[in-house]
């Protein structure tokens, strides 16, 4: 394997994408993604890869430019965060309906109102139903690995769907940590050039981005839904190939010290590492706790999650976002839904924490495990909000 070198995660993510021979990058800067936009511009300007960098005037244009490029057969990439992702919102379901394998990095950041540039998952949650494959990373190495894998997953002829890799803003993007970049040759072996199913070309005119009457639209929805649900097995296939080539194993749902645990905590994103340290401490003290990590958010890995939590009595679901006026956090709402029909299911407690970049320390996670023991009902908890 490669040598571990110190690198800022945002820079490393760009270096990883540069290894993937992208054709077009249309990126508009927004904190905390800005290092990605800047470095991608540098890499392309310096001629290190044969690519086009489109200096668009907004994120809406960024994703639109990527859509056009991808429709013409290019391997297209963009990156954004928070308000930028919200600005892309209307295009996201169009891109997935058009089955364009655009890959995007999202530096998770809170959504405005009030303006907040720090890490939470409030930006990706409103995009939940957009039909994109949605992956979460926990550390810088995963940001590199998943960025490269996202192209292979998205472009698979059985998938052909856009893919977003979530990298916690600041917490991960601005962190310098030891990372291994695969070599260009290794990535070339893993990721062949894109072979589009169809593309816009004057020699063979076709129409993309069409119109559907009420008598057809519902069938197109089922077609897209089926494609997204089926993509899970390709995600697993690509993960397994990565493990064989690079020695790092990923799964759509991962567990940490979950064997024999009475209480499990479900996390997504970098807070999982801090939670794992809390689990280590509590296990040392004899407490039967463990961790379940959701790596694939969409399509939701129903069977794998049910399998991971089948033995526990209490499941704490961590959300770093809220569905305002709804039933709590988006992850917990999905988890409760999929468990609804199960005869045997754990008590589910939803804890919403870390909003707007509020720090989650090891002791916070220990406190949440303790709180789970005492809490009787199953409503959601806004952790740490000063009353």
């Amino acid at each position: 394997m490669g040598k571990r070198i110190g690198m800022e995660v945002a820079i490393a993510a760009v270096e990883a994408v540069a290894l993937c021979n992208i054709d077009v990058a249309a990126v508009y800067p927004i904190t905390p993604q800005s290092h990605i936009a800047e470095h991608m511009a540098d890499v392309i300007h310096d001629g290190r890869i044969d690519s086009e960098f489109i200096t668009v005037e907004s994120e809406h244009s960024a994703i639109s430019a990527c859509a056009g490029a991808s429709a013409a057969g290019a391997r297209a990439y963009t990156a954004t965060s928070s308000q930028g992702l919200m600005l892309m919102h209307e295009i996201l379901p169009i891109v997935s309906a058009m089955r364009l394998p655009i890959c995007m990095a999202n530096a998770n950041r809170a959504v405005s109102g009030p303006l907040n540039i720090w890490n939470d998952h409030g930006d990706i949650m409103p995009q939940r139903d957009s039909g994109w494959i949605c992956l979460f990373t926990e550390n810088g190495q995963e940001a590199i690995d998943l960025s490269i894998m996202s192209f292979k997953i998205a472009e698979d002829p059985e998938v052909m769907l856009p893919c977003v890799v979530n990298i916690d803003g600041f917490q991960l993007t601005h962190m310098i940590e030891p990372l291994e970049l695969p070599s260009k040759a290794e990535v070339a072996k893993f990721l062949p050039p894109r072979k589009p199913f169809a593309s816009l070309h004057p020699d063979n005119p076709i129409s993309m981005g069409c119109f559907a009457m009420p008598d057809t639209y519902a069938e197109t929805v089922k077609a897209k839904e089926t494609a997204l649900v089926n993509s899970k097995k390709i995600v697993t296939k690509v993960f397994n190939e990565w493990a064989k080539r690079f020695g790092r194993k990923y799964s759509v749902v991962e567990t940490y010290k979950s064997k024999g645990a009475d209480t499990l905590m479900l996390t997504m994103g970098s807070m999982g590492e801090t939670a794992a340290t809390a689990v280590d401490e509590m296990r040392k003290a004899g407490k039967k706790v463990g961790l379940v990590k959701l790596r694939l958010w969409r399509p939701f890995p129903v069977e794998e999650l049910k399998e991971a939590i089948k033995e526990c009595k209490t499941l704490i679901v961590m959300d770093r976002a809220i569905s305002t006026g709804g039933a709590g956090g988006p992850v917990a709402t999905d988890v409760k839904s999929i468990l609804y029909g199960e005869k045997k299911k754990p008590r589910v407690l939803n804890v919403i924490a870390g909003l707007g970049g509020r720090d989650l320390t090891v002791s916070d996670f220990v406190a949440m495990f303790e709180m789970a023991k005492k809490k009787k009902d199953e409503t959601f908890e806004l952790y740490g909000v000063r009353e």
Binding site: I117, Q171, D359
Partner: protein, 184 residues
């Protein structure tokens, strides 16, 4: 695992210091994190930056609240910013200052382990600018022993190119000129 908090002012290179520290540690085969206090900054405003260095993989993604070491890059921050907040009992405070240690102790009401070095003066002489961030790296290495001086050479050379040698000299001077304050 050792946790270090750096205090500086925007533009003084505190973030570069933690970057050099992290890169040097990783180059030496250790695990490390280097990160700024996240958020908008401006020139001259008090900023903080952080390092974690460990022989084992670091699985913590939160801020540092109880550092083992606090480094103050700018003497004007003493008394302005609560630099000793959270410093672990038995922790180390390293301050860039020309003032005597006793005066610092009184000002901060601090009785713990204290090192001082006039890094600004060294930087002016060696680098021609009063930017003490690389100089102070020498003080941190001497006070903590977390890495050897030689480990700083590759990241400094990569980052500073032609002026790396001057930064190394400044760093080495701080390493040797740093003074350990008498116990309180």
């Amino acid at each position: 695992m050792i946790e270090i908090r750096w205090h500086g002012r925007g533009g003084q290179g505190a973030v570069t210091s933690v970057e050099m520290m992290a890169l040097a540690a990783i180059e030496a085969g250790k695990y490390a994190q280097g990160f700024p206090a996240f958020g908008p900054e401006r020139r001259g405003a008090p900023v903080m930056a952080f390092n974690r260095v460990s022989d084992k993989p670091i699985k913590i993604r939160s801020g540092i609240y109880q550092p083992d070491v606090v480094v103050v890059l700018d003497p004007s921050l003493v008394g302005l910013v609560p630099v000793t907040d959270g410093l672990k009992p038995g922790g180390i405070l390293i301050v860039n200052t020309a003032k005597p240690a006793d005066e610092l102790r009184k000002k901060l009401n601090y009785k713990g382990i204290l090192f001082t070095v006039d890094a600004t003066h060294i930087a002016r002489e060696e680098l021609g600018v009063p930017i003490a961030n690389t100089t102070m790296l020498g003080a941190v290495l001497k006070a903590t022993g977390v890495l050897g001086l030689a480990s700083m050479k590759p990241p400094l050379e990569h980052r500073f190119g032609r002026v790396a040698a001057k930064n190394m000299s400044a760093m080495k001077r701080a390493f040797s000129e740093m003074k350990a304050a008498k116990a309180a």
